[in-house]
């Protein structure tokens, strides 16, 4: 198997999970209603936990640094997260739409990985299946209820969807290792994942009464997978590591 290919896939997934978990945790305590505050916070904790598990595979299977060092002491250019997850939480419409778009891709990705020839990832995929299933249920329930709730909410959801979609296409930015991953039976590849994702979300968007924006590969916001990030990632990392950097040698 091609180790560089697997490592690249693990870094993409881990960095995505860490950054979106970090972003979504910002709503804890200031969410739209108490019950939703709790649900959103739990999902952000799940995502951060997934990141930790993925970094741990890098650590134990490939001798990379330990999960805390990978998350808290790595340069921005080494992150492989897509730009969708880096964007600030904005208002709740954007956070929910991002959650909907991202989590469907995540659920399908882990679904494919359950059959991966790389056993640690196949094992993790099976382990997180239940959590991700809840994330998708939650996303679908809210997406539909807000889109069909009233005209104000519908307009907000549509405009958040229009804004987020080109970023969401960036989830599937092809990597240099696509063919190796497919040939080795590690992962079916980003192009296949994007196809499955569009098949999955298009009818949900339609059922919610929203217009699916045109899917134009030219408009996809790529870069994150190669270390070119939005203006938001560097400040996010500086903030996340503020305490650690007071005394990096200390045990916190």
């Amino acid at each position: 198997m091609n180790n560089d290919a697997i490592k690249d896939l693990l870094y993409r997934m881990a960095d995505d999970a860490l950054i979106i978990g970090h972003r979504n945790s910002e709503w804890t305590g200031i969410g739209p209603m108490l019950e939703e505050d709790l649900a959103f916070s739990s999902m952000s904790q799940d995502k951060i936990g997934h990141a930790q598990a993925l970094y741990n595979i890098l650590y134990t299977s490939f001798g990379e640094k330990n999960p805390d060092m990978l998350a808290f002491q790595r340069a921005e250019k080494d992150f492989r997260s897509c730009q969708l997850v880096e964007l600030p939480i904005g208002e709740y419409d954007f956070s929910l739409v991002r959650h909907f778009l991202f989590d469907h891709a995540e659920a399908l990705r882990y679904g494919l990985l359950e059959a991966s020839s790389f056993a640690p990832l196949a094992g993790l995929a099976r382990k997180v299946r239940g959590e991700i299933r809840y994330h998708v249920m939650h996303a679908d329930t809210f997406f539909k209820q807000l889109s069909t709730g009233n005209e104000v909410a519908k307009a907000r959801m549509q405009s958040a969807l229009n804004y987020a979609l080109p970023y969401a296409l960036g989830i599937f930015e092809p990597s240099a290792y696509e063919e190796a991953l497919i040939a080795d039976g590690v992962f079916a590849g980003e192009a296949r994942l994007q196809e499955l994702w569009l098949e999955k979300i298009t009818p949900i968007v339609a059922a919610a009464g929203l217009q699916m924006p045109a899917i134009d590969a030219a408009k996809a916001i790529y870069g994150g997978r190669k270390g070119y990030h939005s203006e938001y990632l560097q400040p996010l990392l500086a903030e996340m590591t503020e305490v650690t950097s007071i005394d990096p040698a200390a045990e916190w």
Partner: protein, 328 residues
């Protein structure tokens, strides 16, 4: 998390003077003195209902406002373990708010009305949350000592007479034991860590000492009592008793780490009563009346959370469904 609230002289007078149907009152009081709980559908004196709503509501507000000082460090927690623990801990505070608003709702006041009263300043929350969390070490002090103080209060209140409040508190106390453990863990790591870490912690401890003494409210000598509220098991222990219990439990845990408290007069008397220097009750009054370091920000953020998301709740509303008071 919660601090104590005291009655004004005027309020105490009203509670003590209220007149109720004597036969029903007798039955109600007999039930409480037998150690039975009062449930939502029961007859209860108007003052009992009012004081409970006031108390549970303030407790609920304290939970959701209390999520803010600790939330200050949510995006900056230094590693996976602390990051997950802090998010989960702040989440629990929101969950406690939800449980407590629910308990208060059973007495006939809606959650939205309570939240509006919080925003308008009509209803208060614990004073301790009007202080800032300046550094990561403040999170350790809050998680260990403010939660420790809150547990003293909540364990006592869970022996009260109103069923739904007791049930909420039992669940809350269980979760608070996780808060206390993770707070103590964080506290011990800093105390036993590098010089920088120890200094951060000592400074935070110095900042929180007074607010912690204020936490249980003014001295019994200076606060209003209501015999009725004691008899009805709405209030179960005096401010000084709870403060003393807190000092007894926690001061040794601070000193065993070689840390100090900024009070040369602090000592445990032979009678088991702690003596401490004047914690400046005028400051306590100023902060309660809105003039603390963070009062304005706390309310502004809560107002944002309510009003910026009004569209979400409005979109979810089903006009055909009628709200009824929840059961329990």
């Amino acid at each position: 998390m919660y601090g104590n609230t005291s009655l004004t002289a005027e309020e105490a007078k009203i509670v003590n003077a209220a007149v109720e149907d004597p036969a029903k009152l007798e039955e109600f009081e007999a039930r409480i003195s037998r150690g039975e709980k009062i449930e939502p559908g029961d007859w209860m004196p108007e003052q009992y209902r009012k004081q409970l709503i006031r108390m549970i509501e303030q407790h609920a507000h304290s939970e959701i406002v209390g999520a803010l000082p600790e939330g200050t460090w949510i995006t900056r927690a230094p590693n996976f373990r602390r990051k997950l623990a802090l998010i989960a801990k702040v989440q629990d505070e929101v969950g406690h708010g939800q449980l407590l608003y629910s308990a208060a709702e059973t007495l006939g006041k809606t959650r939205e009305q309570m939240l509006m009263d919080l925003l308008s300043g009509k209803s208060k929350y614990s004073n301790v949350f009007n202080y800032p969390a300046n550094t990561w070490a403040d999170i350790a002090v809050i998680g260990f000592l403010v939660d420790g103080a809150a547990i003293v209060n909540q364990v006592i209140n869970s022996k009260g007479s109103y069923g739904p409040y007791c049930r909420a508190l039992e669940r809350i106390c269980y979760e608070e034991s996780f808060h206390l453990k993770q707070g103590h863990d964080n506290f011990v790591y800093l105390a036993t860590g590098t010089k920088v870490q120890r200094e951060m912690l000592q400074e935070a401890l110095n900042r929180w000492y007074r607010p912690l003494l204020h936490f249980f409210g003014p001295s019994d000598r200076d606060s209003q009592h209501s015999e009725k509220l004691m008899k009805w098991k709405v209030k179960l222990a005096s401010n000084d008793d709870m403060r003393n219990q807190f000092l007894d439990q926690y001061v040794p845990k601070i000193l065993e780490l070689g840390l100090t408290l900024p009070d040369p007069e602090l000592r445990r008397g032979d009678d088991g009563i702690w003596v401490f220097g004047d914690p400046d009750w005028d400051e306590f009054k100023r902060v309660i009346n809105g003039d603390g370091p963070c009062n304005a920000e706390r309310l502004e953020v809560r107002r944002y959370a309510e009003l910026a998301h009004r569209w979400v709740r409005e979109a979810l509303m089903n006009p055909k469904e009628k709200y009824v008071t929840p059961m329990a």
